[in-house]
Each structure stands twice: as C-alpha cells, then as structure tokens.
Symmetry: C2
Subunit: 180 residues, 2 copies
C-alpha cells in the first residue's frame, strides 16, 4: 500500500521555547483528506554514563507528569550543535563529568504519532571529573547505582522514563554482546 | 533537594483532537520563577503480539517524521477506557487478532520533559483471528517477523520507534527470564 500523506496546507498554532505546534491538512492514501496535529521539536540526546558497572542518573521534577523521575542525563540539541557535542555538554552540565569515550547506541523517535522529537542515545565511559555548570532553571540530584539494580528498577516499574528504559536495556544488550 | 515546582498560573494555548497545549508559570526550587510548556496527552497503549517467536508489526506513515515506520500495534486510550481494553481493541483494529492472553509488561512516559503522555506496554499471546475493523484515517500494512530478526533491527538502527524498541527489548528480557 502507498502510505505517504501529502501536505495540502499547514497552519502554525504555537511558537514556543521548547517546541512549536502546527496542524497539517493532508491527502490520505484513499484520496480523502484529514488533519495531523504535530509538535515540532529540535531533538535531544540522552546518555548512559557508565563507570565500573555503575550508572549515573539524575532525579528531576517533571512538571508535565507532576513527579520526580529517575532518568539518565539528557538535554535538547542547541541550534547547529552535533548530537555528540550535545551529549558531552549535557553530561558536564548535569553530572560534572567529561566522557573520554562516547559511543552512539541508537537514535529513536519518542512518539512519532504526534511529534518529530528524535533522541540520540549514547554510552559514555572513562569519565573525567569536570566542574558542573548547571543550566539555568534546571534543578536536579545526581544518583549513582549499579547497572544490575537499575535494570531491576526497569523490570519492576520504578524507572518509568522511556529513554532511560531504552538506554539501560540497550547497554545491557551491548555489554552482553561484547562479553560473548 | 526539594525539586517540586508549584504552579502559579496556567494558560491554555491549544485544544486539539490528539493533544492540548498549555504554558504554566511555576515557582522553581530556588524561589525564582519560570515557564513550562506542556503537551497534554490522554495516554496510549502499545502491544507486542507474539505467536511462535514471531512478532506482528504495522508499517505506517508518520506525518510528524515524514517517514514510514515499522512499529508494534498501538493507539490512544478512549475516554474512560482501561489500558487492557484499549490494547485488545487496537490489536483487533490494526492486525485483526484478539488476544486470549494479555500481560502488562510496563508503562512509561514517552518524553516527560514536555508531555504527560504515558504508554502502557503489553505482551499479547494466544491470538485468535478476528475481522479487522480499521480506524478511520488510519492506513497501515501488517508485517510478521521473527523476534530475533526484530531485535537485530533494533540493534542496527532499522527500528527507530521508541515504544517498539522498548517493547521488543522487554519481551526479550521477559522470555530470557522465564526460560531460566
């Protein structure tokens, strides 16, 4: 089946600091017309910082869900910034480490039904202490935990952030693959 | 550190079909004020349909990313609908199967920095053929693939939908755990 949807027109709805919203009128595969509501996002990175089988996390209040969540360090790409440069910057800002070794694990779309947000996932190792320079308006606690314990928290539902679950599961698979 | 952010006021920006947008003025932990832009979403389910080590997927055009993606069946909760009922409905609508066995694997927030969207993940087994009744405005192809092949597509970056990656990795871990 030809699945492509052609844009007939596009209406800007909101131009914010973190995202923009638009509504597209589209031509559907059966020739009828429909609407697609879209949140435009500039993309982000998330990093699994791993030292001696221990992972560094941040605890952060997430206003959209009204909860403090345990997450791997993450942040939005600045205009023109490469994902790898963003990963190094966010790691320094959030937990005060500079990674001597940085590997891309994957990238994924967080919720492609309504947003184009892409998240680039990295594994950071051989961390060097560097003074943390916090982002303005960002408040967080740093937490260190064995990878095995973190994976249990994924399995039992204590870790509920999507990118953190994906990152930890990919790292566990990656370590299992290279140890074979 | 006390991380909570108190809402000082809330401004509605957009009331759409798929999501709503608001902007909250908040009191930050250090006593200063800031803004949080939030996409309100009613929540969704995603299902890994597994039969004889084969997983059913849907190929679907995703307008926000302008690509056809390979994803596990998924859909939005209707008002008042339980996640399990939604999982059964979506499975029938999208691939034409009714699950005799349905287990919740996890739930997660897709991108808690800007949206409250929660995704309930299920494993569906013992599938019974049922006539698919497609959702209006939804166009998709059904694809069947061995779980092992799908996991390779996650590892090599051919599957790029977040919920699909998380679902497949959790199912692989779940099957490994029960086979031990």
């Amino acid at each position: 089946m030809v699945l492509h949807e052609k844009t007939l027109n596009s209406k800007k709805i909101y131009d914010g600091k973190i995202f923009r919203v638009r509504r597209d009128r589209v031509l559907l595969p059966d020739g009828s017309e429909g609407y697609r509501e879209i949140v435009e996002h500039g993309g982000a990175v998330a990093i699994v910082p791993l030292v001696d089988e221990q992972v560094y996390f941040v605890r952060q209040y997430r206003k959209p869900v009204e909860k403090v969540l345990l997450e791997i360090p993450a942040g939005r790409l600045e205009p023109g910034e490469s994902p790898a440069a963003c990963a190094r910057r966010e790691l320094t800002e959030e937990i005060g480490f500079w990674p001597r070794r940085l590997q891309q694990l994957a990238f994924f779309y967080s919720s492609p039904g309504f947003t184009n947000e892409i998240i680039h996932l990295y594994l950071a190792q051989e961390l060097k202490v560097k003074q943390a320079v916090k982002d303005e308006g960002e408040f967080l606690d740093v937490v260190k935990m064995p990878l095995a314990e973190a994976l249990k928290k994924v399995a039992c539902g204590e870790i509920t952030d999507g990118k953190t679950m994906t990152g930890l599961l990919l790292v566990a698979g990656h370590l299992a693959a290279i140890s074979q």
